[in-house]
């Protein structure tokens, strides 16, 4: 009943052919007569034969790729994962997820291990790891294929295929949206000098203010990271001060949700007393009250594209750097008021 898994030789024996012929049928190679092909396929079905991936892997390049991330945002990770997985399944690849700590200084070693042991043939790097040029180079030096996702309006260099997401443009759009609604004192929450997405969004914010003839007030730019708790803390800090803003640009939806929460604590009605916008269009932003006006970031699509490029790279051995840019669209909802 529960016998050993059938091998290619078992199939061969039963079909009365050499095991190489079975291999040909399995891999859909040319020059197999239809006669034998059907016969072999019948036996394969009968025995329920499945080629052993491990053994196959010994003769071929690895068909696993790693998704490397350092990001506490569940929605982000899941969306990315799903996007990558959709491509992997289509093309028979496997996904290895690799959450890591970019500050530990161990990332290179960790990745070296999984690459060196042939566990994966390529990696998808997300911010902030993707911004580490040296890391990319060292992975490349290990003959690994690399695709990275970065913030920017163009790829920073030609090291490897790159997906770039135009945070600046989107930061500009959403800030201008607040301006057209009459807001003049707009705070920026989540500035972080080491965080490219934050900086891009900040540049867009500044550009929009300048275009409207306004100057950027340092008072209104608050430093913090991309979490709910940080959003709460930054908003507290802001509201403590005298001259309150009429609108608030959260660098991502979690910060914005933190701001929403804090506004609520201070008996401020959103959007009547304070307008708030977020960034990312995570499911979360549809589930707050009021629903957040935000920027749609198509994570699953971005990830799928990254996986697509990486798999292309892994299949053809040529290392031609193809890039791909994403523009982000405004999503208007209920957290912004029209100032008269």
């Amino acid at each position: 009943m529960s016998s050993k898994k059938p091998t290619i030789k078992d199939v061969a024996r039963l079909a009365g052919v050499s095991f190489k012929t079975v291999s040909r049928v399995v891999n859909n190679e040319a020059w197999v007569s239809d006669d034998i092909k059907t016969r072999v396929q019948a036996v394969i079905a009968q025995l329920n034969y499945q080629p052993n991936r491990t053994a196959r892997l010994m003769r071929t390049a690895p068909f696993s790729l790693a998704f490397v991330y350092d990001n506490p945002n569940s929605h982000y990770v899941i969306e990315m994962q799903n996007g990558i997985l959709s491509q992997c399944r289509q093309k028979g690849f496997e996904l290895v997820i690799h959450p890591t700590d970019s500050h530990s200084g161990q990332v290179l070693q960790e990745l070296t291990t999984i690459i060196g042991s042939n566990q994966v043939g390529g990696v998808i790097l997300t911010p902030p790891l993707s911004e580490n040029r040296e890391l990319v180079q060292q992975l490349l030096a290990q003959q690994a294929k690399v695709v990275r996702i970065v913030s920017g309006s163009a790829p920073p260099d030609d090291l490897c295929p790159t997906i770039y997401v135009d945070d600046e443009q989107a930061g500009f759009s959403i800030t201008r949206h607040l301006l057209t609604q009459g807001h003049r004192r707009i705070a920026f929450l989540g500035y972080h000098k080491d965080h490219q997405s934050s900086l891009g969004r900040y540049r867009g914010y500044c550009a929009a203010l300048h275009e409207a003839g306004l100057t950027v007030s340092e008072q209104l730019v608050i430093t913090g990271d991309f979490t709910f708790d940080s959003g709460v803390a930054m908003t507290e800090q802001l509201l403590q001060r005298g001259d309150k803003p009429s609108a608030l640009f959260g660098c991502n939806d979690e910060i914005a949700a933190g701001a929403l929460f804090t506004a609520r604590m201070h008996q401020l009605a959103v959007p009547q007393d304070l307008s708030i916008v977020g960034f990312e269009n995570s499911p979360f932003s549809r589930q707050t009250w009021p629903r957040l006006t935000t920027v749609h970031q198509p994570n699953a699509e971005i990830a799928a594209k990254a996986a697509d490029l990486l798999i292309g790279l892994m299949l053809e051995s040529e290392q031609h750097s193809e890039h791909c840019g994403f523009e982000l669209q405004l999503v208007l909802r209920d957290s912004v008021s029209l100032l008269s």
Copy 2:
């Protein structure tokens, strides 16, 4: 510069020993002289040699396990994943994530493929797949190791090691909490006849009402699934009716958040006009306003335990069924009022 990856034979040549001896050093086998051991280790370090996992896998049992789930809840999946991953890393195992659609009828075939091709040696099954007794049996028949996570106060059978989570007990506790706060008309949102967790929580809800001498009103038990949107729809349905409840038990935090949202739309203050409780203690439940009273479900811990059991099973070949139960604790926050 970028030469081929070193193999065990390269190490052997450089160290002047047979490659078998190197294998012994790598695997920490007995009967290697300290002298040679250090010499070999030096060469390993020098060449930066990493054993090829794929080749090793050809001679050993697979050390990958699959996390199989059909659940749209990002927080849940991420917490589970992290819990499993923590164990995998500790013990040198690999994780294959396998989201699937339990209604497609393809699950068995999908899992058969990844098991049959030696991609994984074991699987962790979560609800609702873990409740499918036949599926478990068929996986077992394929010599796969299985650990399942189910809802219940005891394992349903001895098929395989089982993690059981006492939803009934927790549903009872949280309902009783509402009762002690003076609530009498308590709605139950998210009843689903095919969903064991829902049923468990429902049974707890009923038991608490009975204990308080109340009867369960069909009017107050609303069927739906475990999503925000369903929570909105169910709350709408409930509020449409004449006789409104004073409290509302959402079968998970997302339902509760949907209820919160809808209450807000209807100008009902929570908890003053309506109390709401959730279930799961997802990060989400701390980020709503007001923060949700809920039940803590230690997903990462549960998942880690499951991985631990599964890895144990994969290492020792004996199939002894060890089980493990989890009790759930109430988390009191701000979404329940004291009714006078």
